[in-house]
């Protein structure tokens, strides 16, 4: 019952602690916030968690929570206290984080954050002060304002057009995330004892890592209800309580579960996740393939989702970079998640890719007829077009300077037993048709890409070899 040491000895943040403000709250006479503050301070004191506590001040009358509590303090934007609390909790799982919010903050502007945080279930403690009115902004309708209750924005009394009051404790208790939800009041000694206990219980559940707790406090706002403090207590009891029944709404017995290890800063672990390698890949190129372009080769691979155009493009880029060149790959997709268009722009440059788009490629690999029809005419004079002759039966007429290679990507891949390797058939065809890189450059890139799926390497090597053979057969 003594003044909890958790309050500052002097409220320096309250108008610089000048005069009486150094020891008085900014709350109006009879306001419920002061009591909730006292019980919270008592609980922090009794649980011995002052050093670990982070209190989130909301926006509303309790915006200045941090004037009073000698704990770590963080002040949040309107409605966002619960997610600010999560940010603190995950930063330091040992901290005890309290999100202290009013009805406008928690049940109106911050409703999405409130519900999502409750359902996430991470152990924080939410103290929800419901006084059925907006205090700080001066007596407007709150989401918890009662039907018929007047406010400055429901001057004739809240009616059906304003909607019904939000019963937050019941809503929160209906979620799976929380472990403990109780609604308490402050209007008499009995209720005050229950309120104290509930706040302490909420904090204890958090300390033990058992989960999220929510304590709704029916509080008095004599100023904006335009009643005396005594009348307000009576109003809470007689008018609010029937709408917001007191009591425990949810109280699960849950084993402690919230345990987070300190983050890892092992460099090698991070490098391994990133897929970094330490050994220089074997290089097979003798120089930049200047027979295709002096410094920068532009390719386009086009097909439908699932054709493997992006993987093939990635392998070309990887092969080029392994050889010490620069390369880029830009994918673009249609809006469909599956089966839509899938185009890849690839550049291979001797030093630096300057222009990564391929609006007029030198090499086109087309996996279907629409892609060939769309991009065939964009291929530069003297360029190369390789297409899947299994699915394109009626190829468009292209500039005579362009070398065209019809290769049955799908047919070969299906014969090999896996249609998905048709993109590797295409890479084999690309190698044979353009000699952009030696065979081994591609094979190294393919093997590195499949290093975690070694069993698939022989099949892919075979598909690659068939692509080459098909082009060679065309030239013969």
């Amino acid at each position: 019952m003594s003044k909890a040491s958790v309050f500052y000895d002097k409220f320096e943040r309250h108008s610089h602690g000048e005069g009486l403000k150094g020891h008085a709250t900014h709350y109006c006479p009879g306001c419920g916030h002061g009591l909730a503050h006292k019980y919270l301070a008592d609980a922090i004191d009794e649980l011995g968690i002052q050093d670990r506590t982070v209190a989130i001040s909301p926006v509303g009358c309790s915006v200045f929570l941090y004037y009073y509590f000698d704990v770590g303090n963080s002040q949040a934007a309107h409605g966002r206290a619960s997610v600010v609390a999560l940010g603190h909790k995950f930063a330091n799982p040992e901290s005890v984080v309290i999100s202290y919010q009013g009805d406008g903050d928690l049940a109106s502007i911050g409703l999405a954050e409130t519900i999502a945080t409750a359902q996430l279930g991470a152990p924080i403690t939410v103290i929800f002060i419901n006084n059925a009115i907006y205090g700080m902004t001066g007596g407007q309708m709150a989401p918890t304002t009662l039907m018929g209750q007047t406010s400055s924005t429901s001057p004739a009394g809240r009616n059906q057009y304003n909607g019904q009051p939000m019963k937050m404790a019941e809503i929160i208790a209906g979620l799976d995330g929380p472990v403990y939800v109780e609604r308490v009041a402050l209007y008499d000694a009995k209720q005050r004892i229950k309120a104290k206990k509930a706040i302490q219980k909420g904090l204890k559940l958090q300390m033990e890592g058992r989960g999220y707790s929510f304590i709704e406090v029916l509080a008095e706002c004599p100023t904006h209800l335009k009643m005396s403090p005594e009348e307000t207590e009576k109003w809470v009891k007689e008018s609010m309580e029937p709408v917001y029944p007191l009591g425990v709404k949810k109280d699960l017995t849950v084993d402690p579960w919230f345990k987070l290890n300190p983050p890892s800063f092992q460099g090698e672990k991070l490098l391994s996740l990133a897929g970094a390698t330490y050994e220089h890949p074997v290089r097979a190129c003798e120089g930049f393939p200047t027979h295709l372009a002096p410094h920068d080769i532009s390719l386009k691979l086009a097909g439908s989702g699932g054709d493997g155009a992006q993987t093939a493009a990635m392998l070309i880029a990887r092969a080029a970079i392994n050889e010490g060149f620069d390369a880029t790959h830009i994918p673009s997709y249609g809006p469909e998640s599956r089966g839509g268009t899938s185009y890849a722009d690839v550049h291979v440059a001797e030093d630096e890719v300057l222009n990564p788009g391929s609006p007029d490629p030198q090499v086109l690999i087309a996996f279907n007829a629409p892609s060939l029809a769309k991009f065939g005419p964009t291929v530069r004079k003297g360029g190369y077009v390789i297409y899947d002759s299994s699915v394109v039966t009626d190829p468009p007429v292209l500039d005579p300077s362009i070398q065209v290679f019809p290769v049955p990507f799908t047919g070969i891949a299906t014969d090999l037993g896996k249609a998905v390797v048709k993109n590797i058939v295409a890479l084999g065809a690309l190698q044979a048709a353009t000699n952009i890189f030696p065979k081994d450059t591609f094979l190294t890139a393919i093997r590195v890409a499949l290093k975690d799926k070694c069993a698939l390497i022989p099949l892919n090597e075979e598909a690659f070899a068939w692509g080459i053979k098909s082009v060679e057969a065309l030239s013969n």
Binding site: L35, G72, S74, A77, R80, H88, S95, R192, G267, M314
Partner: protein, 466 residues
């Protein structure tokens, strides 16, 4: 058994607001409302007559004021007289220790082969290398791969990735983690960044670090998911309400996505301010060569943090300064910080020394412009490229140098002139009155300017757009 003696209540009248909540609590009717106005407060405190008091304590539990009704110290009731509150309660606001910085550690990394990764992946790796283990995000194309990579990697590094309920929640989770003093970041794209701006303003006001990677896409509204550069204005001049500024970095390659993300964390903590990385949709999706650095960071905890431990107990993270003079002083302080950030201006000048035509571009259009410079040079035209790497602060001194001998200046951008506006504003603020007339190559809607369009502009030809 003797009852343990319980203290009776004590009240300094000036700390009583006269709400009367204690009246009901007392079964012995010791407390009454008075009609005497207290001259110090203008309020009417209750009066205590403790003759019948049995020290039940319920009145103290009913008093909403921390320094209202409280247990009497020994002797207080007998010698009831007003005491100086400072003497009574002491002047020390907190016995919490004075925090000190726990510095970052730099951990060496072995040399590795270059990776072949997307821009967003590169940025994510940069964040991990910079010591970030707390990432919050909401999926939005074309930035989602960054979040996906974080969702995959962070659990393996005992870090935290939370998919928030919205971008609004995302930025406020960042506010919390940044408030605790730890590095945090998010990936987003234009509409998502718009939603985050409220929180960005709060972070700037509360002086919190945090890195926002905005992979800009076509707008306004839902627009599309193709690349644009139309958040330049937002990032440089519209970071939410109030006097807000942040360093804005504009990478142009996957390698820079990594390098500038690492730099962003450093600058973010150096200035206690968010840093924005503006990429374009191409850059986010583009795969390229990325060399990892030779060291990584294990973050410490800055002395200002609210970490939730004894050392940091006295700290407060807030953007409220209720008194006008305090808020003005805070803004003066922020302005001084923004002024100090000017030294971070960075740029790349490519063949500008003798350039008669200077192209100005950032992000992917800068790569295209570089290609155009090479092609123009091959045709005997003295062209150069000025590429701002920081869009705020704009590297205006470097620009002045780059356009010193230029007769023409062509701004190449995937927006309706937002980069040009930055250039104009920077030149104006720098007092540069004489400069070549602005020419522009602009595309919008998710279409990037093409090299051929730049060539056409420079060579004075008109080109029919596809």
């Amino acid at each position: 058994m003797a009852l343990k003696e319980r203290p009776k209540p004590f009240l300094l009248p000036e700390y009583c607001k006269g709400c009367g909540r204690c009246l009901d609590a007392c079964a012995k009717d010791c407390i009454t409302l008075s009609d005497q106005i207290n001259p110090l407060t203008g309020l009417v405190p209750v009066e205590l007559d403790l003759t019948n008091c049995n020290a039940c304590g319920l009145c103290m539990d009913a008093c909403p004021e921390p320094y209202g009704l409280r247990p009497a110290h020994e002797g207080e009731i007998q010698d009831f007289e007003l005491e100086d509150p400072a003497k009574l309660f002491g002047v020390k606001p907190s016995d919490a220790p004075v925090p000190v910085d726990i510095p970052n550690e730099i951990l060496p990394l072995p040399r590795t082969e270059p990776l072949v990764i997307k821009g967003t992946y590169a940025s994510a790796l940069g964040a991990l290398l910079a010591g970030c283990r707390h990432v919050y995000g909401y999926p939005i194309t074309p930035s989602t791969e960054g979040a996906e990579l974080m969702a995959k990697f962070l659990p393996k590094l005992d870090g935290t990735f939370i998919q928030a309920v919205s971008e609004v929640a995302t930025v406020n989770m960042m506010y919390g983690t940044a408030g605790a003093g730890l590095p945090t970041m998010t990936f987003t794209s234009s509409p998502g960044f718009s939603l985050m701006l409220e929180g960005v303003s709060y972070m700037i006001g509360a002086e919190l670090p945090g890195v926002f990677v905005d992979i800009m896409r076509g707008g306004p509204g839902l627009g599309n998911i193709a690349p644009e550069q139309s958040d330049i204005k937002l990032a440089c001049h519209g970071l939410g309400h109030g006097n807000t500024q942040a360093l804005v970095l504009a990478p142009s390659t996957p390698q820079e996505m990594l390098d500038l993300t690492i730099l962003a964390f450093e600058l973010s903590f150096k200035y206690r301010n968010p840093v924005v990385i503006l990429g374009d949709g191409y850059l986010g999706q583009m795969t390229g060569k990325v060399q990892l650095p030779d060291s990584m960071i294990k973050p410490g905890i800055p002395k200002w943090a609210v970490y939730g431990d004894a050392m940091h107990r006295r700290n407060l993270i807030t953007s409220i300064f209720l008194t006008e003079a305090d808020l003005e002083a805070h803004n003066v302080h922020l302005n001084a910080k923004y002024a100090a950030m000017q030294v971070e201006a960075r740029s790349e000048s490519y063949l500008c020394d003798d350039a008669e035509v200077v192209l100005i571009a950032c992000n992917t259009p800068a790569r295209t412009a570089k290609g155009a410079v090479q092609e123009l040079r091959q045709q005997g035209i003295k062209a150069g490229l000025f590429r701002p790497i920081t869009l705020w602060p704009f590297p205006v001194e470097d620009l002045k140098e780059a356009i010193r001998g230029a007769e023409r200046m062509v701004v190449v951008e995937a927006s309706a002139g937002q980069l040009e506006d930055e250039v104009r504003l920077a030149l104006s603020k720098a007092g540069v009155r004489v400069f070549p007339e602005f020419e522009s190559v602009r595309r919008m809607g998710g279409i990037l300017p093409q090299q051929s369009e730049i060539m056409a502009q420079v060579l004075g030809k008109k080109e029919v757009r596809a």
